[in-house]
Amino acid sequence: MLQVKDVQKSFGHFQAIIRANLDVRRGEIVAVIGPNGAGKSTLFKIISGHLKPDRGKILFRDRDITSLEPHQICRQGVSLSYQIVNVFSRLTVFENVQVSVLSRLGKAFDFFTPAKGLAIDETEKILDSVGLGNVGDRICGALSHGEQKVLEIAIALGSNPELLILDEPTAGMAQEETSATIKLLERLNHEGLTILFCEHDIELVFSFANRIMVMQQGVSIIQGPPHQVRENREVREAYLGGA
């Protein structure tokens, strides 16, 4: 479904990604792990079109999306949920998801239909599915950090993606919120959504992902099932501390 081929990215003299390769198949849950500064977030921004690679290709459903803009990539079926909470701060929870749905429905340049009557059922369905149905009329700034992270996912779901990219979806969450979010993501995966994510909680990654890609100093060093990654000598030395 998604192929990242020999991607490179530099910022001035700093090489954020030296060589990254990644393969995500339909219906999978794929994790990208690596220490801070390994290039995980940069890779996600390249896939979603927010950054352009210096070299390499991104293929989504066999189509080259390397040079597409973020809104075009979203319309191809790729949606990104950010590491830092990235919501529409002055809109309500309902409106946050509604704008995503309206954009997908091609209503962005509808000037005269009242927005309050549009995409109600679909927006409420998404909010109910992520457990935010009862706080839809709140300004999202009034939500807890965990709820805002879930809202992030809800906004991404509003564009009805085939591939959901999550940059540290449980960062800063309490244990209960983390469990609930993982259950939510598992359910979404069972419903057919392909998930690509990065996460620092290694136990969570190894229990949740079907396959794992490891990045080390801007290079993807291995991709495979959890047991294969865990047994890899290079990974153990570089990332798992020889454990």
Partner: protein, 320 residues
């Protein structure tokens, strides 16, 4: 919750209806000067509301909005004074010229954001001002254009007042619809977070550019209304100080509210007239107002009162 929202809307509609009735009968009991002042407040309100579409709802630092107002005013004045075309042509072409200028300036500025966008727009707007200010043979230079032959129906104080009232109400209704449409809601999403908006499939720059053109068009309409009220156009209409005043009007009334800029304009036009009767240092008073505003009413007058009446946790875009 639903009942509360319904009540709020009925109350708003009732207040607006009463206000409209008062405005409709105002010339019958107000002296001519105050009727003129009311017309000026209405058209300035339309002007600041058009600015707020880009500023408050679009998050774009439109630092030189007055230039579109001035072009609308000069457009209609030149058409009426230098051509024999029907007057209605001038009244239509004025706002269209403003919209075209907004499109051109928008295309140049839109790749920048925040302060850089504002500063480039200020520079381009000042260029337009210089052209108007120096081109004596065409625009009358610093003298401006006076004695514009306004159609007789709207040439009187009462006639121009009703023309201003009708056009302003229609324009405000259209702007209200735009702000509360899917387009308007997505524009507010872009204001809050352009990067996130792009990642949900929104063409951010195209959306912003359309907002700038709409804002420019309605500023042009305010410009033609000014000519119908004053019968003249002059370079001060395009000055950056007027642009600054417009921003203060939006901040004063509440730049995240729809009716805030109209309220801010009414207060500012009234204050300027009142203060102008006692001192020539209006800008000094303006500076003091700005300082007080920043310290005590960062959400503006209407924003403050809406904040008192509503639960801050659940104020939807419609309520604003």
């Amino acid at each position: 919750m639903v009942e509360a929202k319904g009540y709020f809307k009925i109350r708003t509609v009732a207040l607006l209806s009463i206000l409209l009735v008062v405005l409709a009968v105002a010339p019958s009991f107000l002296p001519r000067f105050f009727t003129y002042l009311l017309a000026l407040a209405l058209l300035t309100g339309l002007l600041s509301t058009s600015l707020n579409l880009a500023l408050g709802f679009g998050g774009m630092y439109q630092f030189h909005h007055a230039v579109f107002y001035g072009i609308g005013a000069y457009g209609v004045s030149l058409m009426l004074m230098k051509t024999s075309l029907p007057p209605v042509t001038g009244f239509i072409l004025g706002p269209i010229l403003s919209a075209i200028l907004a499109l051109i300036m928008g295309i140049i500025c839109i790749r920048l954001s925040k302060l850089y966008f504002g500063m480039l727009q200020l520079s381009l707007g000042s260029l337009v001002w210089v052209v108007i200010f120096r081109w004596y043979s065409f625009t009358g230079g610093d003298d401006g254009l006076h004695g514009v032959p306004i159609p007789s129906l709207i040439a009187t104080v009462t006639g121009s007042y009703y023309f201003t009232l009708i056009v302003t109400v229609c324009c405000m209704a259209i702007l209200y619809m735009i702000v509360n449409s899917p387009y308007g809601r997505i524009l507010q999403a872009i204001r809050d977070n352009p990067e996130r908006s792009a990642s949900i499939g929104v063409r951010v720059r195209a959306h912003q550019l359309v907002a700038l053109v709409i804002a420019g068009f309605f500023a042009g309409i305010a410009g033609i209304l000014f000519v119908s009220v004053e019968g003249s156009a002059f370079p001060d209409l395009l000055s950056w100080t007027l642009s600054l005043e417009l921003i203060i009007m939006c901040l004063f009334g509440g730049w995240f509210t729809f009716f805030g800029p109209m309220l801010g304009s009414a207060i500012m036009v009234g204050l300027r007239t009142l203060v102008g009767g006692y001192t020539e240092y209006w800008t000094l008073v303006l500076a003091i107002i700005l300082m007080l505003l920043i310290y005590f009413l960062p959400e503006g007058v209407l924003g403050y009162f809406q904040g008192l009446g509503a639960n801050p946790k659940n104020t939807s875009a419609e309520d604003r």
